[in-house]
């Protein structure tokens, strides 16, 4: 039986770099580079840097 193929996209977690524990979940193509963006963090009430969290510590 053929191995089940992986989906084209992955759900990733973007963690606030303000160390508040706030995060956003996004969907990106599996082959895309890791996501990073400036977004609003409601805990510190400011726009801060959000970086994608690696699951196994592997990011290209």
């Amino acid at each position: 039986m053929a191995k089940k193929s992986k989906s084209r996209t992955v759900a990733v977690r973007l963690i606030s770099m303000a160390m508040t524990g706030y995060f956003r979940t996004m969907i990106r193509p599996r082959t895309h580079r890791p996501l990073s963006m400036l977004k609003y963090d409601p805990v510190v009430k400011k726009q801060v840097l959000f970086l994608e969290a690696t699951k196994g510590g592997r990011n290209k």
Binding site: M19, P34, G57
Partner: protein, 219 residues
């Protein structure tokens, strides 16, 4: 001629004046009411359970009949376990609520010993509180009868209760919730991160909005 009393009376509001007319301070005020004192006779010490060593003293009393002291492991079928503190025991706050039997304190309930029933205070707690606040405003609180709403009673009571609250003593602390214990370090981390945030954003923009970024956070 205006004596201090009449000049004071001219200043007081009618509510306090009517109260003092009904319950004259020279009879009813807390200053003239005799305060109850802790009895220091040895018999009362043995019966009172708030004394430091009530069980030992009673045990010794019981043992005086027998020639030897009882073994601590002697099973006692009549032992009732831990004794609750005596509700009628002396305490400084209760001593403040003394009443003169000839002139019953209007702020305190009293017992009719013939019928065994309790008679509520002449002045209810709500009105008591209002009177105490009013008297404190005009600086004549010591003229009111002793009651549960008086500043002195509340302070004494707080001093007593303060000793009973866990973690309030010197050198004591309570464990608390985990979020309370870790709050300080978490807030420190956040503060540090927010201090470095403009620099991090500048670097991120410089490195092609994440294209050359190497330090990704771990989940």
């Amino acid at each position: 001629m205006a004596t201090p009393a009449t000049s004071l009376a001219s200043k007081l509001p009618p509510r306090l004046l009517s109260f003092f007319a009904r319950y004259p301070p020279q009879i009813y005020s807390a200053a003239v009411t005799p305060k109850s004192e802790p009895q220091s006779t040895p018999t009362s010490t043995a019966t009172s359970s708030t004394t430091p060593l009530p069980d030992t003293s009673s045990a010794i009393d019981a043992a005086t009949g027998a020639s030897t002291l009882p073994s601590p492991y002697t099973p006692n079928r009549d032992a009732g376990g831990h004794k609750r503190p005596d509700p009628t025991a002396f305490s400084p706050s209760k001593a403040l609520l003394a009443t003169n039997p000839e002139h019953p304190n209007p702020f305190l309930p009293r017992k009719n010993f013939r019928t065994g029933k309790w008679i509520g205070p002449r002045v209810g707690l709500r009105v008591q509180a209002e009177l105490v606040k009013l008297a404190a405003k005009y600086d004549v609180e010591e003229l009111l009868p002793a009651g549960r709403k008086s500043t002195e009673y509340k302070e004494t009571r707080r001093a007593e209760r303060g000793l009973a609250i866990k973690g309030t003593g010197i050198g004591q602390k309570v464990k608390g919730h985990k979020w309370e214990r870790t709050m300080e370090t978490r807030l420190d981390d956040r503060r540090k991160a927010m201090m470095e945030m403009p620099e991090a954003i500048r670097l991120w923009k410089q490195r092609g909005h994440g294209r050359g970024w190497k330090k990704w956070p771990k989940r």
